[in-house]
């Protein structure tokens, strides 16, 4: 999800599942608009993950189409209209299952990496 030079050869396909997971997780703590979501991911990953808008907005609209998040227009503090996304019940269930799958994957990978390091030690 790093920034790329001009041509948006979308690597969305490869990390699509991961980006979806991050977005759903971010919305667990409450509804947010698009800018806020990208800032949140950036901050909470310690500036290591920067989602570019070419990946973020398609992901948001796709998740909306799949019914896991819902969009509403809200008035912000200075009376400007913003589109705010909210997690739905189905989205919450999807988040739970995706999380567990991710954790299983992470544990499996860590197990292999851990073993190798031991072998080389």
């Amino acid at each position: 999800m790093l920034k790329k030079p001009p041509s948006y050869q979308n690597r969305i396909e490869l990390l699509q599942g991961t980006l979806d997971l991050l977005i759903l997780q971010t919305l667990l703590w409450g509804p947010r608009h698009g800018y806020a979501i990208s800032q949140a991911i950036r901050t909470e990953s310690g500036e290591r993950l920067q989602v570019d808008t070419g990946s973020l907005y398609p992901a948001l609209h796709r998740l909306e189409r799949q019914g896991w998040i819902k969009a509403e227009w809200k008035r912000s503090e200075n009376k400007q209209r913003t589109r705010v996304y909210k997690l739905t019940a189905a989205g919450k269930r999807q988040l739970t299952s995706e999380r567990s799958r991710w954790e299983q994957l992470a544990n499996a990978v860590a197990g292999i990496l851990g073993k190798r390091r031991e072998g080389n030690a």
Binding site: P6, S7, Y8, Q9, N10, H33, G34, Y35, A36, Q39, D52, T53, G54, Y57, P58, H61, R62, R65, W73, S76, Q80, R81, T82, R83
Partner: protein
């Protein structure tokens, strides 16, 4: 989600607002005291990225986003094509030509060859003939008893029959002979056909003793009754019997628009062998293949033969329905034309692909910019394909319009144009044909568009953006060159085919008839056996006719015969042996052509008698005249007075030897080189003693008259016949010269069509070559300028350009010749006296096309030679 334009527009504005608010908040976030707000905004924009692109990829996620993209691409394509009108028009016309020709040819071939007949369950219909043994030979020889017997078995769901019958129409109006059918009463219901007006035959018709009824053919109804409904119930005098008209057939039914139908009730004619020339029409049970049905029929027939032996056995042969009306030669020719026209389409596709390719080169810069702005390769390819599809669809629509007009023209000109009886077929552009056109269109779109789209979507971004469009076109040039090679190769294949057929045709045309057709009139006369029951009576008629004709001034001689060369002759089959010691034979079982003749036959037709004499009235039934080829094979010396026989037949004595005449098996190129003639008095058709009323047989003879003015003689012939017997129809009166010319009408047609296609192919290929070389020169103008500056002469430039063009053409020629050699074997059945690998045709075509290629390259070469280095290097 339903496609809803309002929702779409709202989504668009929502997305705009969303992005705007994102940018605003990003700018607010960055704002700090002392920082220029404009700089802040720019930074926020840069961080965001390409707004248009983000909108684009986001839109892809909306349901129905593909439709949106498509609409956008199509609009873009229209704008682009409208801008480059010349190119668009050329491409559309080329495609229209290719698709139009293919659709027209497919309409004909599909109707004649592929479609099942337009009757109920037409695909299950088979022709049924009686055989003399399992897999034996046979023809239309079924009778009522056998049809009834087979109706009772389970091979066919239904079985009916029909048989040819000639009818003399007399009474009011011109006496004429109509070819009709006797049909079993169940035929109409089996085929699910209703009459145009009136009623069909039913179980009450066709019994002996009933009032004779008839159903008219459509054209007969129009011609003799003015298409009036009053025809029903009125009477028509057929074979001297009054028939009551009960109905009119729908058009094209059984190809008998010019005939009539009379009923036959099977049950009441069971055991009556008066009608035994029927051919069966059977409907197979669902899911039963013709092979399976044939096996079952063979098995049952064996049993039936044991149970109830018949003079002709119970065996049946099942044949495809369409072969009733189509000869093998016509079948082959149709497939040939279908293949050839497909080639023309391929060449047209290559041409259009080339056009698109050259345009892709021109638009390279545009593509480079779009790619730099973030358009994915897939997007560019999609756009390219959409453009091409719009072009192809437009061309295809025009092509189908051409085909519609073409088919109407063909139907209107039909008797003069075709030899296939398409008058019996309703030629129309309908669903099947449109489906074929759609398929051809889709394939054309892919063939034309894929290569240019792939090529155009991968531009070299640096070269595109720099101002010099230099060697970037090299790979395009290679691709264009490849397409031209392919075009030339296809053209060669077509040209070789056309050349072979043209040579065949000239050979056919150069055939000596062996007789002199000029100045001779011929007509068909059939003497009904109930009015002329004995050979003596018939001979008396002809002698009277002969005398009357010769009394007319300008008539030189007359003759009669049982047919006319080249393809209406009697054919016998069997080993010929003579009576010399030792016996000489011509074997095994050759075909022998011949005629039974009377009057001054050899004199009238101008056939020379090289030995002995012509027939005289004194000759008996053992006299024979043979032709030179036969005589030379059986006797080294004198043939006169020797004897021959065919198979186990009677011995005949040779009284004369005639020159060879051109005779051949009908509707084929097989020649009959062995010929014999018999005098007419003796060879008579056996007559059935008693016939039911209206069932009449005829003794048919062709009459020939050699006269000073053949056209005048034609009228005089008819008048003279009617002065002797006013009710006798005279059919097919024509000049023998015309009859001879007509023999080759089918070949002439096929050759013309192939020549036309080849011409179109050559023009397209030459145009393609011209375009490629021209573009090459235009692209390399700067390079040429440099070469000239460095000392290249005009001759060097000439060689440079011309050699590329000729090299491309030469490649195409070589590949094409190889392809032609591979394919030309399929033409063998249509060729005459030349082989499918005829060297003269192949080499001539190669040389001709190379010459055309050189001519096509001439203008661009001249332009290249005229390049002024100063201007060339300045302009870019």
């Amino acid at each position: 989600m339903r496609f809803d334009p309002f929702r779409r527009r709202r989504r668009e504005s929502d997305l705009d607002e969303e992005i705007e608010s994102h940018l605003r908040m990003a700018a607010e976030n960055r704002a700090a005291p002392g920082v220029d707000p404009a700089e802040v905004e720019r930074a926020a924009c840069r961080e965001f990225g390409n707004v248009a692109l983000v909108k684009d990829v986001t839109r892809d996620m909306w349901p129905g986003g593909w439709l949106d993209r498509l609409a956008h691409d199509v609009r873009f394509a229209f704008r682009l094509l409208h801008r480059t009108r010349g190119f668009t028009l050329t491409a559309i016309l080329t495609i229209a030509l290719g698709i139009g020709a293919n659709t027209t040819v497919f309409t004909i071939v599909d109707h004649v060859l592929f479609r099942p007949p337009p009757y109920f369950a037409g695909e299950r219909l088979v022709q049924v003939v009686g055989l003399n043994g399992p897999a034996g030979s046979g023809g239309n020889n079924l009778n009522a008893h056998r049809i009834l017997g087979w109706q009772a078995q389970d091979v066919f769901e239904r079985l009916e029959g029909f048989g040819p019958q000639q009818f003399d129409v007399s009474g009011d109006g011109r006496p004429e002979r109509l070819s009709g059918y006797i049909v079993t009463t169940g035929l109409f219901s089996m085929l699910g056909v209703s009459p145009e007006i009136g009623r069909a035959f039913g179980p009450e018709d066709g019994r002996p003793g009933d009032e004779p009824v008839v159903i008219l053919g459509y054209n007969v109804w129009v011609r003799r009754f003015g298409a009036s409904p009053d025809a029903i119930g009125s009477r028509l005098r057929l074979n001297d019997e009054p028939y009551r008209i009960v109905g009119v057939m729908p058009r094209h039914f059984l190809n008998r628009d010019d005939g009539v139908l009379v009923p036959l009730d099977l049950m009441s004619h069971d055991g009556d062998n008066a009608v035994s020339n029927l051919i069966g029409l059977g409907r197979l049970r669902e899911g039963v293949t013709p092979e399976a049905a044939q096996e079952r029929a063979d098995a049952l027939a064996a049993g039936l033969n044991d149970l109830e032996p018949q003079p002709r056995s119970w065996y049946l042969g099942l044949r495809p329905w369409k072969l009733v009306f189509l000869s093998d030669l016509a079948h082959d020719a149709l497939l040939l034309v279908l293949g050839a026209v497909g080639f023309v389409l391929l060449i047209a596709c290559a041409n259009v692909a080339n056009l698109l390719l050259s345009r892709a080169v021109v638009r390279e810069r545009e593509m480079a910019v779009r790619s730099a702005l973030g358009a994915s390769r897939g997007r560019l390819i999609r756009q390219g394909l959409t453009e091409c599809s719009v072009l192809v669809l437009a061309g295809s629509a025009l092509g189908v319009a051409f085909a519609w007009a073409g088919v109407r023209v063909l139907v209107a000109a039909q008797p003069a144009v075709t030899f296939i009886d398409i008058g019996g077929i309703d030629l129309r552009i309908d669903g099947r044909v449109l489906a074929f056109a759609a398929l051809a269109t889709a394939l054309t779109a892919v063939a034309c568009g894929l290569v240019p789209a792939l090529r155009g979507s991968r531009p070299n971004p640096d070269a595109g953006l720099r101002s010099v469009a230099s060697g970037t076109g090299r790979s395009t040039g290679r691709m264009s060159g490849l397409l031209v090679v392919v075009e030339v190769a296809f053209s060669i294949v077509l040209l070789v085919g056309a050349a072979l057929l043209i040579r065949t045709f000239t050979r056919l045309n150069a055939i000596e008839p062996g007789f002199d057709p000029n100045g001779v009139v011929t007509a068909d006369i059939g003497l009904p056996t109930d009015r002329y029951p004995t050979p003596t009576a018939r001979q008396a008629f002809f002698q009277e006719l002969d005398g009357a004709l010769l009394r007319t001034p300008g008539m030189f001689s007359t003759a009669i015969a049982t047919g006319v060369p080249p393809d209406e002759t009697e054919i016998t089959f069997g080993t010929i042996e003579n009576d010399s010691d030792p016996i000489r034979r011509i074997e095994p079982d050759p075909y022998t052509g011949g005629l039974t003749v009377g009057g001054a036959f050899f004199e009238t037709l101008g056939i020379p008698i090289v030995e002995g004499r012509a027939f005289t009235p004194a000759d008996g039934d053992d006299a024979v005249i043979v032709n030179q080829t036969l005589a030379s094979r059986l006797w080294p010396g004198v043939a006169i007075g020797r004897r021959i026989r065919v198979g186990d037949g009677p011995w005949w004595t040779v009284v004369g030897v005639a020159g060879d005449v051109e005779m051949r098996i009908f509707a084929s190129n097989d020649r009959l080189t062995l010929q014999k003639y018999h005098p007419i008095v003796t060879r008579v058709t056996p007559i059935r003693a008693s016939l039911p009323p209206g069932r009449r047989t005829f003794v048919n003879r062709r009459v020939f008259v050699r006269a000073a003015d053949a056209a005048v003689a034609a009228r005089a012939l008819e008048q003279t016949v009617w002065s002797i017997d006013p009710a006798l129809p005279v059919q097919r009166t024509e000049l023998l010269r015309d009859r001879w010319d007509r023999t080759f009408a089918p070949q002439r047609l096929v050759v013309s069509v192939m020549a036309l296609f080849s011409l179109v192919a050559v023009v397209l290929a030459a145009a393609g070559l011209f375009a490629v070389i021209s573009h090459g020169v235009a692209r390399r103008t700067a390079e040429i300028g440099i070469r000239v500056t460095l000392g290249a002469t005009r001759t060097d430039i000439f060689r440079l350009v011309m050699s590329r063009g000729l090299a491309l053409a030469a490649f195409g020629v070589v590949i094409g010749l190889a392809g032609a050699a591979a394919v030309s074997r399929t033409l063998t059945a249509l060729l005459y006296q030349i082989g499918p690998y005829d060297a003269a045709s192949f080499l001539g075509v190669a040389g001709g096309l190379l010459a055309v290629a050189a001519a096509a390259c001439w203008l661009p070469t001249r332009r290249a030679m005229a390049v002024d280095p100063a201007t060339a290097l300045r302009a870019e």
